[in-house]
Symmetry: C2
């Protein structure tokens, strides 16, 4: 798909100035997730499509109380512009928090507050990517990474992802080949924990190998880690930021999955020089991050409200994961496979190899059931037989009914041959 078809798919929109558009505009892909979610936004649809958090776990009372107190005591600074880097005290606390996770020696100069972690990806791409540079991503990967790279005109290269995360052998092979060809990998984007869309987590061995490879092949790593704290079982693994000694990791965090996404608050962490460059770019991207969101999150941290909130979230989502796994076990035939994620929001399903999940999608929507087809997460256009199911937002009742209906549709297809 190219050109004006992309914009909401509306051919009625006259784009009379399209001859002035930038090349990245003309070649941009819309987010298929977003397109699908708006397509199935009817209330009668039982949707496993969107990967949004469950409003049932939004701490609205605590947020309301904190904001009221903030306005009572310091309305001026809370409603004023803030610095581009963000609140110093919040950056200090985030650096301390990362130290507890193993990333030692960080201070506020290593932390930039961003308007969601998406902005961190974009600023990292702005700082590092020239048009035509090579950027590596997983096959599959969350679309935000490739989207940011594309906005800067990068060429994307895919590296397979399996149940243990990115395949390091394939990354090394690809990296060495591209280096020889004079188009070395400059940046790699990944979600190390409970990846969107596969739910897979990069093993410790692979993490150690990845930071070595970044040094050997001279690339930077954008570590997008919004799900880390939503771990249902097993030990927390050190972040790439904690393992790296060469200043090659830009680590991105977010309040979206642990508190609430509407605040649009994220942080980018890395070497002070890089963070300074990202802050400089941010001056022209949006001047500064929403101030109330920063103060509200700061109070959550200072008052010790975040840890119990995260614990409650883990319990809530683990319960929903287990429920979805039980429904899959019950309703899906053995010709279909899926994984058991140790955290996060997603389960990834493989249909029989020759199938196209888009066919199933249209049937599902006709039955008021929705999911996300997997192909849009593969920058090489593969993955046609995959789909992503999210257990984060749907009710248990909807999960049960939707999985049952999908199972029925899959069995019917199998019977047809």
């Amino acid at each position: 798909m190219v050109g004006s078809e992309l914009v909401g798919g509306d051919p009625m929109i006259d784009e009379r100035l399209a001859h002035l558009y930038s090349q990245e505009t003309l070649t941009a892909q819309p987010s298929v997730i977003r397109e699908i979610c708006s397509l199935v936004a009817r209330p009668e649809v039982r949707s496993l499509a969107g990967g949004w958090p469950d409003p049932a776990v939004f701490p609205s009372r605590e947020i309301g109380r904190i904001f009221a107190e903030l306005l009572e005591h310091k309305a001026g600074p809370v409603l004023q512009y803030g610095s581009t880097e963000g609140l110093l005290e919040l950056r200090e606390l985030l650096a301390q928090r990362l130290a507890l996770e193993g990333a030692k020696g960080l201070g506020p100069e290593n932390v930039l507050l961003t308007h969601g972690s998406a902005q961190g990806m974009q600023l990292a791409a702005q700082v590092f990517i020239n048009k035509g540079d090579t950027a590596a991503v997983g096959l599959p990967t969350y679309v935000g990474g490739p989207g940011s790279f594309h906005s800067r005109g990068a060429e994307m290269v895919g590296v397979p992802v399996d149940g243990d995360g990115l395949d390091m052998g394939r990354l090394e092979e690809t990296g060495r080949r591209l280096k020889k060809e004079g188009r070395p990998i400059k940046a790699l984007y990944l979600v190390p924990n409970f990846q969107n869309p596969t739910g897979s987590t990069l093993t410790l061995d692979r993490r150690q190998r990845l930071v070595q490879l970044a040094q050997e092949l001279d690339f930077i790593i954008i570590e997008d880690d919004p799900y880390r704290e939503i771990r249902f079982e097993g030990a927390y693994l050190p972040s790439l930021l904690a393992l790296d000694k060469a200043g090659r990791v830009i680590h991105l965090g977010s309040t979206s999955k642990i508190l609430t996404p509407g605040l649009r608050l994220g942080w980018a962490v890395g070497e002070a020089g890089i963070i300074g460059r990202m802050a400089q770019a941010k001056q022209y991207f949006d001047c500064a991050t929403n101030t109330p969101a920063q103060y509200i999150f700061l109070e959550f941290l200072k008052r010790g409200l975040l840890a119990p909130r995260i614990k409650a979230n883990i319990d809530h989502y683990r319960n929903k994961r287990d429920w979805m796994l039980a429904q899959l076990q019950r309703h899906f035939p053995p010709q279909v496979t899926w994984n058991r994620p140790l955290g996060g929001f997603f389960i990834f399903v493989h249909l029989p190899a020759a199938w196209n999940a888009m066919d199933l999608f249209y049937e599902a929507v006709a039955s008021d059931v929705a999911f996300i087809t997997g192909q849009s997460f593969f920058v090489d256009g593969s993955g046609a037989n995959t789909l992503r199911l999210s257990f984060s937002q749907a009710s248990k009742e909807d999960i049960e009914a939707a999985v049952a209906e999908l199972g029925r549709l899959i069995r019917a297809r199998l019977e047809k041959g």
Copy 2:
């Protein structure tokens, strides 16, 4: 200044991955305004530097009451992700509001909510600018426009600004010459009302000529209009958006000067096709705009709270403008000239032609007085003898004392010859 000197001017920061930086990173200029403001952030400084709004006019009680009610009645959507375009109802109301200002026939598809109007500039640059494209700005101009253009690798060309705004004769001459040279102007950025930094307003004749020229020379106009509603006297002029019939204007608005800047809420308005492309780019810039800010502003509009708020702001800032003008009249010698802005936050001062305002700046800072030197607003490096004074945030006492001290320093320099 190039290279690592730029980052906070801190040579101690080791930038060991600088060889991987993008060209735009290596050539980016930090915001001098921001550097100066952080330099003079000591409490004893009487600062006329920052152009921030006055917290005295932030409606914190109304914001607090509205947010509490929103959390009471619809916490889920208020704290959840929103759509990339922003709240439909708010976009509808903004389109209706623009119709009252003369821009007819707009609907929600013409409006994109942004994280401050700065993001609107950046998204417009993303949609239109390829590396090496020519972008036109005023001499002087607010730094956000050139900063956004530069982030996409544009070449900047300056067009003189006088008391009536951008000089249309010079724009036409420059535009025709550049077109002949094969590097036509693709985009023009301006602040039409009470421009930052000069306070000057583009006349109606020039507005009409500008939209003609955009059509004749085939460029787009980014109309950054945050001060429009802070008009102290005289009739409101139609926006370029209202005058244009060719879909060439992207109009940017913001709550920062009429409500409060910490919300970081702006809007971009233009032809549906362009707005759709900007929304598509925004998917990867930050997914969506802060949700509570959108709901709070929506309630301000629906409850009729914005109009009285704006009226109170106008009275407040007019009073401060008059006060600063009176102090200038009293303390500045006749060798120094300044304008009388009809709105906004700024007065622009011309020192004698051979002077460098930076010399005065260092003397002023030693006397605990601050302003912004004008040169950083000129993309051609001219304007060394100019400075910007802001009356928006300083108290009347500070305005009086700071202007008196500047007058004393200027007279002392004149006496030295």
